[in-house]
Symmetry: C2
Subunit: 331 residues, 2 copies
């Protein structure tokens, strides 16, 4: 009610821009507000540092590649010693807008997530203790941590806090869709607008809404028809152990979806065309015509926003005491 009154009064003041924004189920992405630039810079280095892995080869950026929409564009990820991961790597872009992290929401926030891959034997293959020892051995990192945390002794909470602080900056404002939301009528073509209308009218928007166009609820994969997944993942059930949560997954963000192929938690589908077709069939019981499908895909491509825009970080060299990478050691 409050929102309606506010929107109405703004509209009365002649600001159609604010009206559109308030009424649409998708909201614009706001630019990141950096409150602690030193911590963000430290987190950026950590994000790109493969020495957080046992092999010295895999960094956060390996599977959440910031040159490729924050994903690896693989069906399932490659981990330590070429382990085949069980699930599709979600994009790190706009992940701060999600209600929780991982497809099953088992991490409550980005900091809780960041520790997961480091000590997962099939991902980065290290341990929190080893990762901290690696960082602690490098004077330049110790100086960075001291600057941010006021002490010389590094711990894993500091590491994950810094990575999360960097990841919080990885939002992608200024997509063409957001320009349209903010009142630029020319930002979208007729086909794209028709696709957006269909996206709303068909019910896609029931789950894919908010600033991230998703990421804010768990939903069953296969509401109307079953989904034959190629992944063994059980979704939210793995966390809650409630039967009702079996095969419920966090709704993925559709921001930058043009860049984050392949799609679904098992990465089974390569194109937006197929993804829209499958979603229509198994979630909505709807068969989109080729034309309808194409217009929805055209709309989805307007959700690509500003990609990460920063200089490649230079990492400090290892010291004589840095534990050595062990890429080929037996497990």
């Amino acid at each position: 009610m409050k929102t309606h009154i506010l929107a109405a009064s703004i509209a009365l003041a002649g600001t159609s821009l604010a009206w559109a924004t308030t009424e649409e189920p998708i909201k614009p992405i706001l630019a990141a507000k950096v409150t602690d630039p030193a911590l963000v810079e430290l987190g950026k280095k950590l994000f790109f540092d493969p020495r957080l892995s046992k092999s010295g080869f895999i960094s956060c950026n390996s599977c959440h590649n910031l040159s490729m929409g924050g994903t690896d564009n693989l069906k399932t990820s490659i981990g330590h010693q070429w382990n085949q991961g069980p699930i599709n790597a979600p994009t790190v872009l706009n992940s701060s807008l999600s209600l929780a992290q991982f497809w099953d929401g088992r991490a409550k926030d980005l900091q809780a997530q960041a520790g997961g891959p480091i000590d997962n034997p099939g991902e980065m293959g290290s341990t929190h203790g080893l990762a901290v020892a690696v960082l602690q051995s490098m004077p330049a990192y110790v100086a960075d941590f001291r600057k941010s945390f006021g002490q010389d002794k590094i711990n894993i909470e500091q590491v994950t806090k810094a990575i999360a602080a960097f990841e919080e900056t990885l939002v992608t404002p200024n997509s063409r869709f957001d320009l349209w939301l903010k009142g630029d009528q020319k930002a979208l073509s007729g086909k794209e607008l028709a696709g957006y209308k269909l996206f709303k009218d068909s019910g896609c928007v029931a789950c894919h809404n908010g600033p991230a166009v998703g990421g804010n609820s768990y939903q069953k994969m296969g509401v109307v028809a079953p989904y034959q997944a190629s992944s063994p993942a059980e979704g939210r059930f793995a966390v809650t152990r409630k039967e009702a949560d079996r095969f419920n997954f966090k709704v993925p963000t559709l921001r930058n979806v043009e860049l984050t192929y392949p799609y679904f938690h098992d990465g089974a589908v390569n194109t937006l065309r197929e993804a829209v077709d499958t979603m229509g069939r198994i979630q909505l019981g709807k068969k989109f015509t080729s034309e309808e499908n194409a217009s929805i895909v055209a709309f989805l491509k307007t959700l690509t926003g500003d990609q990460p825009d920063f200089k490649l970080p230079a990492l400090p060299p290892s010291s004589e005491t840095t534990p050595k990478p062990q890429p080929f050691a037996k497990k």
Copy 2:
């Protein structure tokens, strides 16, 4: 002779700066002159694009990581399906200054080198045909190639030419040593200068000279005493099949050597201290004292120059026709 006259006349004009530069066996690194910025930008994208590999996971930057001195800081590299490479990955930084590429000089220049890892089954695991087909499937890449080469049909020569053009920009001027060479007397400490004098007086400079402090000759590994390598590599012999070239390797650049550990073609040595000790023993028949060793190491650390300084490139998305990565396909 001409050089001497020039240097003398400049010295007479009171420019001690130019005098020092001319007389020293190590020359400053010059900043890169970019004549074709569009080609360099294209090459940068290609350098960071893991889709040039069969897995979609390994890019040039995986083993020549520009955040880590242009190397992977591993003993030997990790290739397709976690293949253990036979040799230490040389730094790509200042590689344009080398007389040839690879440890055995089998590629005459950067363009000839760039094609090697792409279709090496143990490195990127692709083929030139597949890599070109991947690029050809993406309209944004086709537009880039058209801009640089005036045609829509991409070929591998264009790909390697673009990568080489980018790599030619990866020079690292303005090291403290270069500032000293250019006349800044305060750029080096007494210990560092003593290390440089010892580096010259002991004979290190016989092979490690010129702007790259190496990279301009092949030399036998183990002149005075044999080197027990952990790698099967035979050096220049593999190219020439001349017995005299057996175990001759391209002298590595010492630019940024603080960042390019581990050392030697087999990556057997982790620290500059050990590397200086081994080189003294097997190449010069000399045992450096701890103090001498430390001063040479101090000098070597002054060779770290400006690291790559550019924004992380954003890569174009694959299209529906892009051949899919095959990370887990049987070989």
